[in-house]
Symmetry: C2
Subunit: 404 residues, 2 copies
Amino acid sequence: MSNNPQIPSYWYNLKFDQGINLDPVKPQFDDSYMRSQSLLLESDQSYVKIPDPVMRLYEQYRATPLKRAIYFEKAINAKSKIYYKFEGQNASGSHKLNGAIPQAHYSKIDGFEEICTATGAGQWGTAVAYAAQKFELACTVFMTGSTYDRMPQRIALMEMLGAKVIRSPIKEPSNEYTRNDPGSMALATSDAIQYAINNKQTSKISHVYGMVMHQTLIGLEAIRQMEEIGEFPDVVIGCKGGGTNFGGITLPFLKYKMEGKKDITFIAVEPVENPTLTKGEYMYDYVDFNKLAPETKMYTLGHFHIPDPIYAGGLRYHGFDPLLSKLFNVGLITAKAYNQQEVIRAGKEFYQSEGILPAPESSYAICAAIEEALKNTDENKTILICISGHGHYDIQSFAEGLKG
Amino acid sequence: MSNNPQIPSYWYNLKFDQGINLDPVKPQFDDSYMRSQSLLLESDQSYVKIPDPVMRLYEQYRATPLKRAIYFEKAINAKSKIYYKFEGQNASGSHKLNGAIPQAHYSKIDGFEEICTATGAGQWGTAVAYAAQKFELACTVFMTGSTYDRMPQRIALMEMLGAKVIRSPIKEPSNEYTRNDPGSMALATSDAIQYAINNKQTSKISHVYGMVMHQTLIGLEAIRQMEEIGEFPDVVIGCKGGGTNFGGITLPFLKYKMEGKKDITFIAVEPVENPTLTKGEYMYDYVDFNKLAPETKMYTLGHFHIPDPIYAGGLRYHGFDPLLSKLFNVGLITAKAYNQQEVIRAGKEFYQSEGILPAPESSYAICAAIEEALKNTDENKTILICISGHGHYDIQSFAEGLKG
């Protein structure tokens, strides 16, 4: 239980609660290097109790702020109210810590001595590094090449937390990729899985696979916070990488929609350079480049897809969480893709008006909020966006993007 | 009035409340370029009402968190309780925004079209840039050379807010300093004053001079927050640059000590490279290098003192606020100086344990808190520190400092 009544004591398990049957992963595979994850995928409770050691760490930085963006509304001449939930004020600078803490906890319980993972822009890697040292686990992070080269501050941050950071794709004689390749999350995931397979005391932990549930405390908190001020969203917006931040803010609200209690529009926002939902296919695909993990049914651009290096390194993943993919497939979720120039300008506008520098990833949600807020509708709408993280390590991207 | 009862509606004016006569500045000078400041120095109220436009902006990010550092206490085996007040979650990333907002407000009222200022590590410059655009004022920032060269992210941040950032010392035929000089706050202050004198529509606003009062809402909030949990500090610690963050957290507590109600130890913490209090003299000196501003009586190393470039660029000012200097002179405040290697390690320890990356400046306060918390005393003490800002733009300093 939490000592702070503002923090939910449970994660919300929409998959079980709404009776959603996902197409099985194929083939079934030896998941000994990622045991705790598959365990959680199959929970038969609608609300999963948060373990005490996890809750103690959540209490360090939760509840996160929910605020009305009054200055931003004014700056863009919004016709709707805009609320934002801000997840950037913890040790990782993003929502990712919500998922890294329980995975480190379960890996410790499972007897692992080390955790390893893949990271794009570094938010997830920082979250894992922080969680690892809290549970006295060693930590190795494989970082996609394009962001490894671009964000030395993120590397220093992870190293300060005691993690070993390795550029991906790793250079091996058998590997056709070289040190200069920009890499992808699929490649980094392969590197991490191979590392875990080679090191039996190492648990490979994931930023997506089944971990969306851990993020639902964002949405659960938001519901409580909005109810306190007598509000409820008509539109919920999140940026779309693998799906954790988007699923975290939306799943608890999706319950209302799926049970016919509220009509809510959900918008997943992605880069035009990596248009998984707006141009991808719903099919079986691998989460990693080298096909070490099984195939799951999801929206995908192909595990071999290597998108251009973009400012929002965290949105370069080729796929989408299987549960969220199913919800998108049946039309419960919509998607939008934006150009990174307009996204960076939206992020700047938010910083100037609200005083919070959003991550480029989060700025995609802001960009969609602007479009929604300017629509002429019969009645004023209430928009809720998730600002998944801060952009302090993305200043170079803002500086470059704003010159264009 | 604030809509949020947690935010104080008044600044605390200890100078008037405790009847402190400061030695006058000499000579009296034409202060037309910094009118609003001298006005505030002479207020004859113990509590000065915060103007509504200022309060609206304070509400964007206040009240700031006050937390007990339970993980940090454990990590260092503390014998005392440690509480921290964190000021790093606003647009400037530091306490400085508390002072920049009212100065921009008064400059607007005074009819100025632009504000200019000097900044060390960039926190103050960012605060001024943010406040300027909120009041639709142009903004020019003179940044000390050593941090200008070291912190391109800070420059990008200020430029994103619409400010013009100029390296100081500026290169002029009449100026004996060159582009390669590390500069000092005194030199940057001269550059800013000269710019304001040359541009009649520009107000030179200050990060120190008389502005400590605006920061007292840190201490006023802390008192309220500690009382809510039934605590009161025996020791209050802040890092010491010009004095704004230190004065902000201490002045409201100093009232208790000066009125004989509580026995509290106040510790101002400074770098051994710039030991204003531990090695400086209490005497009349100029706040700026080129003697454009008048002399004030304060602890100083000499306005011509150019300290080494250190990680904590914000602590390179040669002097100390006149009011705080007087309080130090009569023994109400104590001082400590630390080596930056141990300071950086203290900051890392705080990040690992509490999940907040402190600015190098703030890490001086943390370093002193460690020493205090390890002391054997008859009874457990309660320590309160001000974490004046975040360290996200100081990663390079941490990376270098931790290698040593």
